[in-house]
């Protein structure tokens, strides 16, 4: 990374502080305020979607229908998936981007601060509309987060209309957010901050933003076609009129696969910031990391149909998507190897962010390897739509996306609040989460291979034992998340004051600002050598 010459850029404080009261949050144009709101919003959504998962796990504790009816179970599954993906993970990363990108590239704020605030405030409205569907006549969305037609069109409850518009709003929000991030990164970098000097978090977000702008509109297109089929008699997804239900799946997954990388690339960025810090050693292979990220992004556009191996595509298509999907292992591998090599012969210490990052590398790789197994089309005929898939994506999403977010929060929280968090408690949080999630999701590999389909409220007896274990682990993991809540609140309230540097090994512009970071980051741009 780059050293900073101009240090007093940091300590010129002649700016206005935040407004007081609720108006500060409603009307703010400040990247830190908006970042904070994004992060809190995403945490609330995480708790909400998680509670739904707890309902799922409770029902699946034993065979038989105990607590809820199948109809409601499907709604829980659907909402859980939607809320976690669009409500928890994506806003969390946008929150981190808001907080950090201006500080990392040496900018006063985001490029388009008002639009920034708009991007955020659309979300609460979108999600209240989405959640309100649960209380509408006929119930909420019950067709899975992948909402395949015609289950989501002809056979859907009336509330699907509001689901569709909620997705439109989320799309608008994400697109504006990405435009803002791109403009900030490309246009507001401090003098001397060349592209190849940018921290990897900034790089991964730049590429993620491009992914978002490219695929969010396609999702909007998909739901718009649904809307037409439902209300205006068109036949996009209806063979009777010359359409094809599978068309929906192609359009959805053209969005959906890049989406899963949207959920992991910023995580790669966070980990690439943390590993060097606590290895006290520069990141190994910075350039190759950038190219690897770019290639993953590129490949993610040509692999979508690996979610559709069983829909009966022509053999040629089947083969193409199998090969393309397998290829993604290569650049992802490069990243893993680079991280490991960064740690190699470093001087390692294991503060909480580092613990989460190490767990990230290990467990994400496990998830990635199971992904590779899924990519083998013939075997996927046995894996598809079983709990093996559920295991796969929770391994890449929880210890992947979620752990990366938590690592980032622990890493930058002192910079944000000016206080060190409660360290022993944070370790407890890590270990309980770590154990809980493995107990919850590892057995899912087994039940999946043994043939348990996903999205079922009740199952045959041979799956009983492992489902019981899963549920226990899930509740352990779930309850542990309260610890995080406590830690964050404690840390905001007070705690040991920290220096501007915070971590002895930390590199980058954000650490040249005092902790807590001033309301306006770099009011005069720093010189970067």
């Amino acid at each position: 990374m780059s050293a900073v010459v101009d240090h007093h850029a940091a300590d010129d404080h002649h700016h206005h502080g935040p407004q007081s009261g609720f108006r500060r949050w409603l009307f703010t144009t400040n990247h830190k305020d908006i970042g904070t709101m994004y992060l809190w919003f995403s945490f609330i959504m995480f708790l909400y979607g998680g509670s739904m998962a707890m309902i799922l796990r409770a029902e699946l504790f034993q065979p038989g229908l105990q607590l809820i009816e199948p109809e409601f179970f499907n709604q829980m599954t659907t909402m859980h998936g939607l809320i976690m993906v669009f409500g928890a993970v994506m806003p969390a990363f946008v929150g981190l981007a808001n907080w950090l990108i201006p500080m990392m590239v040496g900018a006063p704020d985001m490029a388009l601060p008002r639009m920034n605030n708009w991007s955020f405030w659309l979300l609460p409205f979108a999600f209240s509309m989405l959640i309100s569907t649960m209380f509408m006549e006929g119930g909420g969305p019950n067709f899975g987060w992948t909402f395949y037609a015609p289950l989501s069109t002809t056979y859907a409850p009336p509330s699907v209309t509001f689901f569709i518009f909620a997705v439109h709003l989320m799309g608008i929000s994400s697109i504006m957010g990405s435009i803002n991030i791109i403009a900030t990164i490309l246009n507001l970098r401090a003098p001397g901050m060349t592209l190849m000097k940018m921290p990897l978090f900034v790089w991964t977000w730049l590429i993620t933003a491009y992914l978002l702008i490219a695929v969010m509109p396609v999702l909007a297109g998909a739901v718009t076609m649904m809307l037409m089929d439902i209300h205006f008699g068109t036949s996009f997804f209806n063979a009777a009129g010359g359409g094809d239900p599978v068309l929906f799946q192609h359009v959805f997954w053209f969005f959906g696969h890049p989406e899963v990388y949207i959920m992991i690339l910023p995580g790669f960025g966070v980990v690439s910031q943390i590993i060097p810090t606590f290895s006290r050693k520069p990141l190994f292979g910075y350039t190759s990391m950038v190219y690897a990220t770019a290639s993953i992004a590129f490949l993610s556009f040509i692999v979508w149909a690996h979610h559709m191996f069983t829909v009966g595509m022509p053999l040629a298509a089947e083969l193409f998507f199998m090969y393309a999907t397998m290829l993604i292992a290569v650049p992802t591998g490069v990243k893993v190897f680079n991280w490991v090599t960064t740690m190699w012969r470093g001087s390692l210490s294991f503060e909480t962010p580092m613990l989460f990052s190490i767990a990230f590398i290990v467990l994400f790789t496990i998830g990635g390897l199971s992904g590779l197994m899924l990519a083998i089309a013939p075997s996927d005929f046995q894996y598809h739509d079983t709990y093996f898939v559920v295991a796969h994506f929770h391994y890449v999403l929880i210890p992947g996306a979620i752990f990366a977010i938590m690592a980032g929060v622990y890493y930058w929280l002192p910079k944000w609040t000016g206080h060190m968090y409660n360290v022993p408690l944070s370790r407890l949080h890590f270990w309980l989460s770590f154990i809980g999630l493995n107990v919850a999701f590892f057995p899912m590999h087994f039940v999946g291979l043994a043939g348990m389909p996903r999205r079922i409220p009740d199952y045959a007896l041979q799956f009983a034992d492992f489902n019981m274990i899963s549920t226990v682990g899930a509740f352990l993991f779930g309850v542990s998340q309260f610890i995080l809540l406590v830690i964050v609140i404690q840390c905001i309230k007070g705690g040991r004051k920290v220096s501007a540097q915070v971590w002895d090994g930390a590199e980058g512009l954000e650490w040249t600002l005092p902790s807590p970071a001033p309301y306006h980051s770099f009011t005069t741009p720093p010189e970067v050598r």
Binding site: T29, W118, W121, A126, M216, V218, A239, G242, V246, T523
Partner: protein, 295 residues
């Protein structure tokens, strides 16, 4: 006043939250109206939608008004100008992808699903067992289940109005460029003239488009319900028509601003952005003309 340094960071603003409420009301109202239409329920969707629409108009007016005012009072640096350019550029790209989804649907239907239903490729048994009567043609006049989805009697021929509309739109792309050059040369008269012409061309295009729809519905039986051809036809042309409408409105606002004396030879990004948008709408139409009408 938080605009230290070179880059202008605006004060707190009420517009974003108003904008969010506006969009929420609009779609919530629209949703209710559609559900009433389809499920025969009763709600005050229209009212909510109307409220939302008004609020939307209000925040556009207010928000852009403020930006214009800021820009004219010289708060913006070249750097800010670049931010706007990146923003508009990538916004247009996202629109391209939006259209891409619908073009994708068209290609999928024409190249894959319709032939399969007709027995081509892997579709042999689909055809034999499910739709023995169906013949794969494009345009599709007889749908697989023609009683639920009665196909169109005829479709719009390419070389009539569509060709005319192509000429209109392409011309308008030139006229707006002329206007731009005039603006760069500070020739206000030519600027107004060419801009007015562009708007006129856009309006005429829309008129013909509307006429085409009337014919389609009244005489040809070509409707949204007439199966995959009507489906893709109206989705693409309709979505494009909506964009032409927006573009025309934007151009009109530019004209008003110019009449009020806004813009000068080297400071007129709003105008430039609008013309970008107009070119984009034009290019999409070319694609439409070729893939929807001609081939």
């Amino acid at each position: 006043m938080a605009s230290q340094g070179t880059y202008y960071v605006p004060e707190q603003s009420k517009w974003p939250i108003i904008a969010s409420i506006a969009l929420f009301l609009t779609v919530y109202g629209a949703g209710n109206m559609m559900n009433d239409m389809t499920h025969g329920t009763e709600s005050n969707g229209l009212l909510i939608f109307f409220a939302g629409a008004c609020l939307t108009a209000y925040f556009f007016y207010g928000w852009f008004g403020q930006v214009i005012q800021e820009s004219r009072s010289g708060l913006y640096s070249d750097q800010m100008d670049r931010s706007f350019r990146w923003g508009m550029g990538w916004f247009i790209f996202s629109e391209v992808m939006f259209f891409g989804a619908f073009f994708g649907a068209l290609f999928y239907a024409r190249v894959l699903s319709v032939p399969w239903l007709g027995g081509a490729g892997d579709g042999a048994s689909t055809h034999a067992l499910l739709w023995p009567a169906f013949e794969a043609t494009w345009p599709v006049f007889q749908n697989p289940d023609n009683s639920t989805f009665p196909g169109p009697k005829e479709v719009i021929p390419a070389w009539g109005i569509p060709l005319l509309n192509t000429i209109l739109l392409v011309t308008s792309s030139f006229t707006v460029t002329f206007a731009h050059h005039a603006l760069k040369k500070n020739n206000r008269y030519q600027l107004k003239l060419w801009l007015a012409v562009t708007i006129l061309l856009g309006a005429v295009f829309l008129y013909f488009q509307a006429h085409e729809y009337v014919v389609a519905y009244r005489d040809l039986g070509l409707t949204l319900e007439s199966g995959i051809y009507g489906t893709t036809f109206f989705m693409l042309t309709g979505f494009h028509g909506a964009h032409v409408t927006i573009g025309t409105v934007m151009l009109f606002i530019m004209l008003l601003r110019i009449l009020k004396g806004h813009f000068d030879a080297d400071n007129h990004f709003a105008f430039e952005a609008t013309s970008w948008y107009w070119h984009f709408v034009d290019v999409v139409w070319i694609g439409l003309f070729i893939f929807v009408y001609v081939i």
